[in-house]
Structures are given as C-alpha cells and as structure tokens.
C-alpha cells in the first residue's frame, strides 16, 4: 500500500477498512484479517495495525473477540458512513472550499454540475440494468 496522503498511516488503514466494509468485501459479523496478517499484507508495523484496530473499536465499527479475532459489527455500515461523512465534512470540504475561493468558483455553478452528475449517474445505472 502506498501511503500518499498526509494523514497518519493508522488513519489511512482505518479508511481502507471502512472502504472494504462499505464495498462488502468485509461483511458484517465476519472476521477481518488479524493484526499480523494485515501488517504483512500492507508491509507496515503490526503496532500500527493494532492502533488502527483500537481506533475502529472506539468507533464501534469492529469488535475484538478474545482469542478468535476482530469482527465487523452489526450495523457497522451506518457507523462507517457516519465516520466517513464526518471526515468528508471536516477535512475534504474545507479543501474544496479553499480551492473554490481561489478559483472564484460560484456555488450555483457547483450546484448545477452536481445535479448534472446525479442525473448522469441515474442514467448510467439505468443503462446497466
């Protein structure tokens, strides 16, 4: 894994796991890789993965079943969505606003583009069906 973003590595790993939960690669109530398995896979220190898992436990996204491993919680999708939403609002949105200000992008312009995007999205998913 390439840790390109300027976020702390343990947070980047947490984001990765959240993404896997949303995409249902890691399903609710199923076991996720052990600390060591994930550390070897991502080529990071097991202590870093441990920190990620503690962080995700604090967010009630995963649970440690002693002697068995770490499991995705029931209703974790809601929790993951809330967590990623918070991250988006607090971190990505300010960057977007900053660029909008620098480039003098009007909010109405953005709204129009957003609606266009939503429409295209609906069209595309209908075509797929």
């Amino acid at each position: 894994m390439n840790f390109h973003s300027n976020k702390a590595i343990y947070i980047q790993i947490a984001d990765l796991i959240c993404e896997k939960i949303l995409s249902k690669t890691f399903k609710e109530e199923e076991r996720i890789p052990s600390v060591r398995e994930l550390a070897i896979d991502l080529e990071v220190n097991p202590n870093t993965v441990m920190r990620t898992y503690e962080y995700l436990q604090d967010l009630h996204i995963i649970t440690n079943k002693r002697g068995v491993g770490f499991f995705v919680n029931t209703y974790s999708i809601e929790k993951v969505t809330a967590y990623l939403r918070k991250e988006f609002m607090e971190q990505e949105l300010p960057t977007l606003f900053k660029n909008m200000k620098i480039l003098a992008v009007n909010i109405n312009e953005l709204e129009k583009l957003y609606h266009q995007y939503l429409q295209n999205n609906i069209k595309n998913s209908n075509e797929k069906k």
Binding site: F3, S5, N6, K7, A8, I9, I11, Q12, R36, A39, I40, L42, E43, V44, N45, P46, N47, T48, R51, Q91
Partner: protein, 277 residues
C-alpha cells in the same frame, strides 16, 4: 531490553565519538537509527552487539554485559553488518554452519525465506552482493534471536526484495523482539519503523516513538511562510515550503515525514531536543 548508562566510546582515547550517552531500547518495536554519514550509527550498533567495548559507563543488553560475550547473550543477538563477508560454500552449508549458534534457529523458516527472496540453491561465491545480503537477512530472521540488528539492510536489494524485507520484518516482530535498523533510505522502511533514534555529532538527539512525533509535530507543505507562526524547521522550493512545526490543538495529525524530521533534528537540535526529552 538495552540500557546505556553514561556510556563513552571512541576509537582513540583522545577523541571520543560518544561521551556519556544514555539510551534505552525496549522490546516489541522496530527502531530506526538515523544519522548522517560518520555520525556513529554503526558504532552504536556494534556496542549493543558486543563487537566494540565502551570505554566508560554501563551498557546492558537483556541484563547481560555484551563485552562478556557470554553464549547465552550471543544466542539472542543477530547482527547483519552493512558490508557482509561470505565464505565460498553452498548456501545451505552456510545456514547449517550458523544454526548451532542460535538455539531458536528454524531451518524451515530459513528455507522459506530463501525461496521468498528468490535465492538460487548454489555456492555463495556465484551470488551477487544483493543475493548474499538476502541470505544473511534470511538467516537473521530465521534465527529467532531477540535482538536483530540490521545495518543498512536495503543497500543492494532490488525492488521486490525490499518489499519482501518489509513483509519479513512484519512477520518476525513480536513483543519479545527488538529489531534495530540503521538506514539512510528512510522511504524503504518508514512504514515499519515505530521508534526513532537520531544521532548527530556524538549525541543522541531523540529517542522516541513515531506516535509521539506526530502528536507533537505537524509536517506539511505550505504555500507561504507566516511571520507569526514559529517553525522548528522548513525547506523551500518552487513547490512551496515544507514545514515542521509544533502541533497545536486545532492541527490535525499529519503523516510523519521522516526525511523532514531528520533534517529538523540535525538543523534545529535544541528545538527538537526540548520537545522530546
């Protein structure tokens, strides 16, 4: 696990390399030992392994005195030097020769690591420098020694082997082992190192964990230099200013930039020392 108490060392009595250093290393971590060329990184590693002896002070490694070179101490230390020396024998004989010195040596692991490193089953004299280095690394990791010292391990390693080395380190690290790596190629291993020791001019500038660094400092690219902010260090290029500053409450934690931290530690020794000691 390792304790330096007022240790002094120099290769000549007149000129000390280290004067009265204190340093503690604990098990369960991967230490990155950083310093400029000639800063004394290899010497520090040799002191721990009992390859050179302190002139003054007390040094203990798992409660033993390394200078006694007691077998029970030697069993638990595996040192992989930067410049390796390999005899002209078959790779398996080489392993078999070292195995008896390490009671926890696991031959299956050794064979597995050799395979992962793509090492041919031949005489060592037909191998390249990088291949020989990998044989040493495979042996060190299979020794299951409590203290594994790697001096510039990524020198001479090709790209897949560096990746393999990272996976090996993540595999063998446990709460009873301590892995110490001296390196200039911080980007090769920075996702594995969780403790940093920075040495310069015979001084230990910092010995801390990466978590404390990102708690106390922020590393970021800033388009301009503010006149009100206090920076510990910054570098300027056309792309902007790479800054290191003390983290305030409103600052988000950033990813540790080891190269920038290194430069900050060398150029603003006192600023960094005050924060971490």
């Amino acid at each position: 696990m390792i304790q330096f108490n007022n240790v002094s060392f120099g290769y000549s009595k007149q000129k000390l390399l280290y004067a009265n250093i204190n340093l503690e290393l604990r098990a369960g971590s991967v230490y990155g030992l950083l310093g400029k060329n000639g800063a004394g990184k290899s010497t520090l590693l040799k002191l721990m392994a009992g390859l050179v002896y302190p002139q003054q002070g007390k040094l203990s490694v798992f409660d033993a005195d390394p200078t006694k070179r007691d077998p029970s101490f030697m069993h638990e230390v595996f040192f992989i030097p930067e410049e390796i020396d390999t005899p002209s024998i078959h790779v398996l004989d080489f392993g078999a020769e070292h195995m008896p010195f390490y009671p926890k040596f696991n031959n299956d692991q050794f064979l597995h690591y050799l395979k992962e490193f793509d090492i041919p089953m031949t005489n060592l004299n037909t191998m390249s420098f990088g291949q020989k280095k990998k044989v040493w690394i495979a042996m060190g990791m299979a020794s299951n020694a409590s203290l594994i010292i790697l001096d510039e391990p990524t020198n001479g390693l090709d790209i897949p082997s560096k990746r393999m080395l990272r996976k090996l380190i993540a595999t063998v690290l446990n709460e009873d082992t301590c892995i110490i790596i001296s390196t200039h190629q911080v980007k090769d291993l920075d996702s594995l190192i969780d403790k940093i020791i920075l040495v310069d001019e015979g001084e230990i500038i910092v010995n801390t964990d990466t978590e404390s660094i990102t708690e106390k400092l922020v590393f970021k690219l800033s388009p301009n230099i503010s006149t009100t902010d206090q920076y510990l260090y910054y570098e300027t290029s056309l792309a902007g200013h790479l800054i290191v500053k003390e983290r305030s409450l409103e600052d988000e934690a950033t990813k540790l930039d080891l190269e920038l931290f290194f430069n900050a530690g060398i150029n603003n020794k006192n600023g960094i020392k005050q924060l971490f000691n």
